[in-house]
């Protein structure tokens, strides 16, 4: 029985369990369901849970570990004369050969009878494992169904148990995000630590020079590499700053218009249109920035006698700002709408004009949400990659002039990891160090903003 067929069988057994459990619950009280503590559906779910979950668990872990176990058994069965004195790398090659032989792929050492025997051993173990799996899973499912069917009794509090299981599932789902975050941080962290073994932390944090090219061979002419991250972070902050300069006023003002002044019809039309901006792929923004906005700025700059490079922080920042307008406007609009009408009435009843009401009552009450929206936009701006790759350039200039080309952390991560790399060179590992720094920066920004919001918000009921 193949794996998908077995999974299907378990699923069918589970559905059958639900149906039988439900039928049984009617039967034990002779159709007078008012005598049941739990509704028939709960009895059905209870049987289905016992039928499906233990079997699915065993199934999952068996499939997960089966490969390792069988390989270990096969390796242990190899004669000492072959295994003795092999390094881990060589051993891996031998195992690979065995696996390839077992799955019928052609390998170079086809004629080796010892490997042939090992492959046969492997195939034999695998088919044994398959049979054992089918027997175990199906018997677990049937046993679970049988045992839980005995629990279909009028006074059994099955509903409480089913709800407990549901609760456990909900908890499990909500922890997945947490574990994913931890996993990402750890994987970046370990690579970053390897980088800091090669390059001192102080040089990375405070160095003003970024030029990650390393000599690959001893005799190669070229740089020894400089890993000062300051120009990258300066570039990131410059572009993000320009983007926020565009997005915050435009987004906030359009949110105020939509929330306070626009009629229902205009709102129903304009809000989705604004949100379309969020749906445009960043690549499209990227070539809009590189092919339309950047030349436009350069040409107009030269008319004014300014020296604008064709890839400028200004172009990238402007387009990025347009991209994040909907983040600011949509979230701000939602929180402005959430401010109770009673606040506005109270203010207008005192003779305040619409704009005074907005400035002095609505905005302060909506401030936490607005800051939240802006913060999300900042994180988006800092982490944005595609626009800056295409429009901001690769040169790590340390400058505050928005008309020059700068580069950002994300752009450098991309250039470091694109193409052929070796994962033991500081050049490649630097990408992970940059990623970690980026993560820390956004995290700190979030914490600060949360604190600010909690401190200054005007809480309405």
């Amino acid at each position: 029985m193949s794996t998908p067929a077995l999974a299907l069988a378990v699923a069918l057994l589970t559905i059958l369990g639900y149906w039988i459990g439900r039928r049984r619950s009617f039967a034990v009280v002779a159709n007078d369901t008012s005598k049941l503590h739990s509704r028939p559906t709960y009895h059905g779910f209870y049987v289905a849970i016992w039928c499906g979950i233990p079997a699915a668990f065993v199934f999952f872990f068996w499939v997960l570990f089966e490969g390792y176990l069988i390989t270990d058994l096969v390796v242990a069965g190899l004669p000492e004369s072959v295994v003795g004195g092999l390094s881990a790398d060589r051993m891996n090659l031998v195992v690979n050969d065995i696996l390839n032989l077992a799955s019928g792929n052609i390998v170079a050492t086809e004629s080796d009878p010892m490997l042939r025997a090992a492959a046969d051993h492997y195939i034999q173990l695998q088919s044994m494992s398959r049979v054992a799996l089918v027997v175990l899973v199906l018997s677990l499912a049937v046993a679970g169904m049988g045992l839980s069917l005995r629990a279909v009794q009028p006074h059994n509090r099955v509903r409480n148990r089913v709800e407990r299981v549901v609760q456990i599932f909900l908890i499990g789902s909500s922890t997945i995000a947490v574990f994913a975050t931890i996993g990402i941080v750890l994987s970046v962290l370990f690579e970053a630590i390897r980088f800091f073994e090669a390059v001192p932390l102080s040089e990375f944090l405070f160095g003003l020079q970024w030029s990650p090219q390393m000599a690959i061979r001893e005799d190669q002419v070229g740089s020894s590499g400089a890993f000062g991250a300051i120009p990258l972070f300066a570039g990131t902050l410059l572009i993000s700053f320009i983007a926020m300069l565009v997005a915050v006023p435009v987004g906030l003002m359009s949110a105020i218009y939509l929330g306070e002044y626009a009629s229902r019809k205009v709102r129903a039309l304009v809000k989705p249109l604004l949100e379309v901006l969020a749906g445009i792929p960043t690549v499209v923004y990227g070539f809009f920035a590189a092919l339309t906005v950047a030349p436009f700025i350069r040409d107009n700059g030269s008319l004014l006698g300014l020296d604008v490079s064709s890839e400028s922080a200004l172009a990238a920042g402007l387009v990025m700002g347009i991209m994040i307008i909907p983040f600011v406007s949509s979230l701000s609009d939602d929180v402005i709408n959430a401010v109770p009408q009673a606040m506005r009435d109270g203010s207008e009843a005192l003779g305040a004009t619409r704009s005074e009401t907005i400035k002095k009552v609505v905005i302060p009450a909506a401030l936490p949400g607005i800051v939240g929206g802006i913060l999300l936009a900042v994180s988006r701006a800092i982490g944005e990659t595609m626009i800056v790759v295409m429009a901001a350039g690769l040169a790590a200039n340390l400058t505050a002039n928005p008309l020059e080309a700068v580069t950002t952390v994300t752009v450098q991560i991309v250039t470091l990891l694109v193409g052929d790399q070796e994962f033991d060179s500081p050049k490649t590992l630097a990408a992970f160090a940059l990623g970690l720094m980026l993560f820390i920066v956004t995290l700190v920004l979030n914490v600060i903003a949360l604190h600010v919001v909690r401190r200054y918000r005007e809480q309405y009921e």
Binding site: M343, D345, E348, A349, L350, G351, T353, K360, P364, A365
Partner: protein
């Protein structure tokens, strides 16, 4: 009017013409032929009523009878409701309230309103009261604002309770205190008329008594229009009472007469509790 055999002289239930004298010898606001529509639904129909100088007039009636809608017309708070149309004539001291040239902001400074649910701003107690005076520039200095805040809180009977906590948020007060704060906020801009839309419906009896005392004191300075569901409250605080029923103004008269000798059958049924 002949008050002989009660039931015969009472106006029939089906009659919808206002009984009693809707005018006032010294009117502050005169309303003629007022109707309010929400979309197609008519909430107030052809109402005539005068609000006198320094009088307390109570608007009573079952829920949905249009008394709040009528009240909100008096400082044009209905303007903010989408789909609401107001027709008829409102004059305050001879000026048409619904004249296109009428400055709503000034009108609302003259006609203040206290809502059913206390709605202090999420600001400090001080800033809540100072809000109106600041936007109208009633005081040029910090000391001037402080003086207005103190007087208003004193008049609202809240000063003693909050004078040491002026920087606490207004929302931290109890319900009754919040409502008095809203009254203080409304009178801080020196209105001439104060509208109250069921100001005590969310309050306990002690806080209610406090507000009623306040209405008594304020009536020396202001005209007060109060919408209430409590007939005892109307009887206690008002000089005149107007009974609304399904959008019609049924009966107006001196409060003691309306409550003791109602002339309209509907009024009698309502105040004797035959329907609510």
């Amino acid at each position: 009017m002949n008050q002989g055999s009660a039931d015969k002289t009472r106006v029939d239930r089906t009659a919808r013409k206002t009984v009693g004298d809707f005018t006032h010898p010294d009117p502050r606001i005169t309303c003629r032929n007022v109707s309010v529509h929400y979309g197609d639904k008519c909430a107030v129909r052809n109402v005539d009523l005068d609000i006198g100088r320094n009088e307390v007039i109570a608007l009573i009636g079952p829920s949905g009878c249009g008394k709040s809608s009528f009240l909100r017309c008096l400082n044009r708070m209905n303007d903010t409701i989408e789909g609401c149309r107001v027709s008829g004539e409102f004059r305050m001291d001879g000026n048409d309230l619904y004249d296109p040239d009428m400055d709503v902001v000034l009108l609302r400074a003259q006609v203040g309103i206290v809502f059913q649910k206390p709605n202090p701003f999420p600001k400090s107690i001080f800033d809540n009261v100072a809000y109106g005076p600041r936007i109208h520039g009633l005081a040029q200095t910090r000391a001037g604002v402080e003086e207005i805040v103190e007087t208003s809180l004193k008049r609202a009977g809240l000063w003693e309770e909050v004078k040491d906590y002026l920087n606490d948020p207004g929302t931290s007060l109890s319900g009754g205190q919040q409502q008095r704060l809203c009254v203080a906020r409304a009178i801080a801009v020196n209105p001439e008329v104060v509208l109250m839309d069921e100001p005590c419906s969310a309050l306990d009896p002690i806080a209610t008594a406090r507000i009623e005392e306040l209405i008594d004191e304020l009536s020396e300075l202001y005209s007060i229009v109060i919408v209430t569901h409590s007939m005892q409250q109307a009887a206690r605080v008002s000089e005149r009472t107007a009974y609304f029923h399904l959008g019609d103004l049924i009966e107006v008269g001196a409060t003691d007469e309306v409550f003791t000798k109602p002339q309209h059958k509907l009024t009698e049924d309502y105040i004797t509790g035959r329907f609510g």
